[in-house]
């Protein structure tokens, strides 16, 4: 068993450089299960890079990156995929797969190349289809769906993966506001009801403030600020992050901060 103190992602001075350009400088932070963490920052601030490092899609060029106390590189592929599910910014073409088949791909870390597909796998796929609200077109080809529907299908695949951590790179960029809310509510539900650790890269600070427990702000590849939405989404904080004057007021319904451009 992993001790509570070790549990989660721990980044210690993690940096990443590619082709002589440093994209991420000495980032140190921890990500614990049961919380939804929003990653915000200007374009090119290193948000996606941070997520790729966490997802082990790229290896850090400096520092130590651990999951549950073990270095990321020491995890086997499948064991890691049982722990961490990752949705890239632009999901690939799904070829001629049907929705249910694509979602079932998420079960690979559990049954592997040889293991039998059990009732447990089928149940997880069905539950994921319902949870992501894509059950209605489970038997259609992924490529025939609209952009928003496709995005939710990929999300369903991640849900079916039943990992302990979800890493979502701009999951709501292609969605209308109703589906944005739906996806973020789903992320929050997974985080709080199922105790998953969720890290979401978001451009919309207001959505981030509304649905995340915690925000991580990056600027120019450095960790700028980390804290509760009310602490990060302030007029000064946003000016720091985006470099333009912004103002904040409390939301009339729940008091969480709402920002707008001045």
């Amino acid at each position: 068993m992993v001790s509570a103190a070790m549990e989660g992602f721990a980044l210690d001075g993690v940096g990443f450089a590619a082709e002589g350009r440093t994209l991420l400088h000495e980032v140190s932070l921890t990500l614990a299960p049961g919380r939804v963490v929003g990653v915000v920052g200007h374009n090119g601030s290193g948000k996606s890079t941070l997520l790729k490092l966490l997802a082990r899609q790229q290896a850090p060029s400096a520092g130590a990156l651990r999951l549950d106390g073990r270095d990321l590189s020491s995890w086997s592929s499948r064991a890691f995929a049982r722990m961490v599910a990752y949705l890239p910014q632009t999901p690939p073409s799904a070829g001629a797969l049907k929705v249910r088949e694509l979602v079932a791909c998420g079960r690979y870390p559990w049954h592997g190349a040889l293991g039998r597909r059990t009732a447990r796998d089928r149940d997880a796929v069905e539950a994921a289809l319902q949870l992501a609200d894509v059950g209605a077109f489970a038997d259609r080809l992924v490529e025939t769906l609209s952009g928003g529907e496709r995005q939710r299908v990929w999300l369903a695949m991640l849900v079916a993966q039943e990992a302990r951590y979800l890493l979502l790179d701009e999951p709501i960029a292609a969605l209308d506001v109703a589906h944005q809310v739906e996806v973020m509510a789903l992320a929050r539900q997974l985080g709080h009801a199922r105790g998953l650790g969720v890290a979401v890269v978001l451009h919309d600070v207001n959505i981030a403030a509304r649905y995340c427990d915690e925000l991580v702000a990056l600027r120019g590849g450095r960790l700028l600020k980390r804290g509760a939405p009310a602490d990060v989404v302030t007029a000064e904080g946003l000016a720091d992050i985006y470099g333009i004057p912004m103002a904040v007021m409390p939301h009339p319904d729940g008091g969480w901060p709402v920002s707008f451009v001045r």
């Binding site: 997802a55 082990r56 899609q57 086997s76 592929s77 499948r78 064991a79 890691f80 995929a81 049982r82 599910a85 990752y86 890239p88 999901p91 690939p92 073409s93 799904a94 070829g95 001629a96 797969l97 088949e101 791909c105 998420g106 690979y108 870390p109 049954h111 592997g112 190349a113 040889l114 080809l141 490529e143 025939t144 695949m157 993966q161």
Partner: protein
């Protein structure tokens, strides 16, 4: 090393060689004199032979480089080359047919005939892919089918008329020798005009690096642009092929070398591709002339180009950046799905069962057609039927795996190069140990295939066996070995004929032990593929997604490549390389509606087996008492069916 350094380096070597070949020929005359007013034997030779040949090597190299860059940009595929659209196969077929019909033709209308053949082939490809808006996948598939079909027709004609066609072998490998300036005067303006046309299209073509929607969104007229660019490269390729024969490797290697040397943008590739093509061919051709002094004038330039281009390609391969290429354009067609996949598979098994009966029992002899129910002939028939079935299934499965792992519809087991490795080992044994028995030959072939596979894996290990690295390395190795094989066969050695029959895919010499080996291999390797089915479903989604759900992508690619190598080597050693089955049976199975990995594998294996057993039956009976090699006939009966399916797509 930038592309300029590469051009200068190769150019310098070529200049040194040229100086040597020039001094050997000019016999004390002056170059200026030879150019302006040749007098004396030496200056005349230089004026009418050496100089035009020099210019032809520049022009052909540049033309092929340019055509290759255009073709690869439009078709979004590093395997595309000027001959992808069937140009050289069409020219070859037309030449063979014309030479047989009008034997006196040899010197006179050769170019016109070759040009006509190229044109017919390219026109056929365009018409097949036209209603798909010349989408890359459609063009590539149509090009492959037409190429293979015309190639098989040509090869069949050659096989039955060897004695008349010896000279064509040399043409087939690319011979640049010239007697006057006519070729230069014809090619020169064409290459310049094509270069101008390509330069005019550089901006819209560069936008093809975006995906299809992005390019269209920027106002690129996709169909018109594709037609124009493909037409330019077809014209160039046809002109070169009709003038000097097939120098195929330059068209594929020059764009790849330009990219590897650092020509990142399309504009840069358009400049450096033709230049690299020109110096590569120049260097190779000068070397040929130096060697010709030593070994006679029989080493074809085309073969030598591959001999020097391949190592260069392999040396630069580690510079291939992973995932720098944009995502491939989405499939242009909605792939069909079988409504009752299990039923369809059972029907295919039943069809195979039905087909095996006449394959075993039907005879065609002097007395006409008869069904032999006594079983007397069974003893000789079953090995070849079984071998055909096994080889067809094995290569179809190997092709399916290769295409799924690389995500490239032009990939076949042969692009991994091990077929060529086996062929080379085989020919070495045939030459070095005359009278070696079949077991020795097979052992040699197996060793060749094994060493090639090891080489391929070693060369691409650092790239984590990434698809484009594997394909380029395989192509380079294959071209290298093919060049050696061509050099041997073009020398007209009678022993090469054995190899020619083997290269056409023949079941005639198969014994019972080999047939049983094939059966065991189908069962064992087919069963070994089943556990990998999930990898084969996941890998086409890309390395990121496959990795994110827990596939160890590097290990998966390695194991699948080794499995492919085993399947290909076994099948190839039993009946020879069967391009059609390995390349197109997977497509046939997909188009029949089996997009998922496991049914796709099974359906492809069944299609492969069906085509091969059918081809064996027809090859044995159709033109009794002669036999048509099974591999050739498989293409001749399979290709029309695939053409028909493509039309309906």
């Amino acid at each position: 090393m930038g592309p300029a350094v590469m051009v200068l380096g190769l150019g310098l070597l070529a200049v040194l060689l040229s100086a040597q070949s020039l001094t050997a020929r000019i016999e004390g005359g002056s170059l200026l004199g030879a150019i302006l007013s040749p007098s004396g034997m030496g200056e005349l030779v230089v004026h009418f032979s050496w100089l035009p040949r020099l210019l032809v090597s520049w022009l052909c190299g540049a033309a092929l480089g340019l055509a290759g860059v255009l073709m690869q940009q439009v078709l979004r595929n590093p395997l595309a080359s000027p001959t992808t659209l069937g140009v050289s196969a069409g020219a070859h077929l037309a030449l063979v047919a014309a030479t047989l019909a009008v034997p006196g033709l040899a010197g006179l209308g050769r170019e016109a005939v070759a040009l006509a053949g190229s044109g017919v082939a390219a026109a056929l490809v365009f018409s097949l892919a036209w209603n798909k808006g010349l989408a890359p996948l459609a063009v590539v598939l149509a090009g492959l089918v037409v190429s293979l079909y015309f190639g098989a027709l040509g090869a069949a004609l050659v096989l039955f008329n060897q004695s008349y066609l010896a000279g064509l072998f040399i043409w087939g490998a690319g011979a640049l020798s010239q007697q006057d300036w006519s070729v230069v005067l014809r090619l020169g303006p064409l290459v310049v005009a094509s270069g101008v046309a390509a330069a005019l299209m550089v901006r819209p073509l560069a936008l093809l690096d975006l995906d299809e929607a992005g390019a269209r969104g920027l106002g690129v007229p996709l169909v018109g642009l594709r037609l124009a660019a493909l037409a330019v490269s077809v014209v160039l390729a046809a002109a070169v092929v009709s003038a000097v024969g097939v120098v195929g490797f330059v068209g594929l290697a020059a764009p790849a070398l330009a990219t590897l040397a650092g020509a990142r943008t399309f504009g840069a590739r358009l400049v450096w591709g033709p230049l690299i093509g020109a110096v590569l061919l120049w260097f190779a051709d000068q070397l040929v002339q130096v060697l010709a002094g030593l070994y006679g004038d029989l080493v074809p330039t085309g073969a030598l180009t591959a001999l020097f281009g391949s190592p260069l390609l392999l040396w630069l391969l580690p510079r291939l950046k992973r995932d720098v290429r944009p995502p491939r354009m989405a499939a242009p067609v909605r792939e069909p799905r079988a409504r009752h996949p299990v039923g369809a598979l059972i029907a295919m098994v039943a069809a195979l069962g039905v087909l095996v009966l006449p394959a075993l029992l039907l005879s065609h002899d002097a007395a006409g057609w008869s069904l032999d129910l006594s079983g007397a002939l069974l003893e000789w028939r079953w090995p070849r039927v079984l071998a055909a079935l096994a080889a067809g299934a094995l290569l179809a499965m190997a092709g399916t795996i290769t295409q799924r792992v690389t995500g490239n519809p032009m990939a076949s087991p042969e692009v991994l190069g091990l077929t060529s490795g086996a062929a080379l080992a085989l020919i070495v044994v045939v030459m070095a140990l005359p009278g070696a028995d079949r077991a020795t030959e097979i052992a040699a072939g197996a060793a060749g295939a094994f060493l090639t596979t090891v080489g391929l894996l070693w060369l691409t290990r650092r790239a984590a066996f990434a698809p484009d690295s594997i394909l380029l390395a395989g192509i380079a190795l294959g071209a290298l070995f093919d060049a050696l094989v061509v050099a041997v066969t073009a020398s007209g050695d009678p022993r090469a004929v054995t190899l020619l029959a083997w290269l056409a895919g023949s079941t005639a010499r198969v014994g019972s032990s080999e047939a049983l080996t094939g059966l065991v291999a189908v069962v064992a390797l087919g069963a070994a593929a089943v556990p990998f089915a999930r990898w084969l479903d996941l890998l086409p989604l890309g390395a990121v997604t496959a990795g994110a759900v827990g596939v160890d992508v590097k290990r998966a690619r390695l194991l699948l490549l080794v499995l492919t190598a085993l399947m290909t080597a076994t099948a190839t050693l039993i009946v020879g390389p069967l391009t059609f089955v390995g390349l197109l049976a997977p497509h046939l199975a997909r188009l029949a509606g089996f997009p998922r990995a496991l049914p796709h594998l099974l359906a492809a294996a069944l299609v492969g087996a069906l085509v091969m057993v059918g081809a064996d039956l027809l090859g044995r009976t159709l033109i009794y008492p002669r036999q048509i090699p099974t591999g050739l006939l498989a293409t001749l009966i399979g290709a029309p069916y695939l053409l028909w399916r493509l039309r309906r797509l």
